[in-house]
Symmetry: C2
Amino acid sequence: MNPKSDATLSLSKVTILVRVREGILDPQGQAVLQALHDMGENDLFSVRIGKLIEIYIPSSDTLESRLESWCRDLLSNPLVESYEIQSIKPVSHQPMSV
Amino acid sequence: MNPKSDATLSLSKVTILVRVREGILDPQGQAVLQALHDMGENDLFSVRIGKLIEIYIPSSDTLESRLESWCRDLLSNPLVESYEIQSIKPVSHQPMSV
């Protein structure tokens, strides 16, 4: 099945943010903080680096619960990360494939 | 200097999103797409994974131009990534240190 051939298909763009939990060491953020410090930028309090996940998927009534389950089971490690489904927006065009 | 001792300090929380450019292969996104496919989720069009960067820093008039320069020089690789300074918001509390 090629879903692109279905002209009536309604598509959603989902944006998910995954953050390292407070109190958990974030080595990537620490490295950026140190690099900025080495560039003479001394006034930063903190830098934390997480993941931005963008998904294009057909809209459906069950989408939000499916997303929750993916976030819990695959997209984040609940021990050290928290996730936020920031937005689910209808879109009219599909992203370019790679 | 301990900036935390300055009670008059106005702090900003900056959120920066870094995305792999369209047309550039995103192996991390491909891996997640494949994992979801293996779980029986066959209707996804695309999954792209980028970086969420959150910075706490004192507010200032020059903050935005400093951020632009950090994004260009350190936080993204302009050849294959694009960045977006999504928000600069005043905050009243400092994040927990790690």
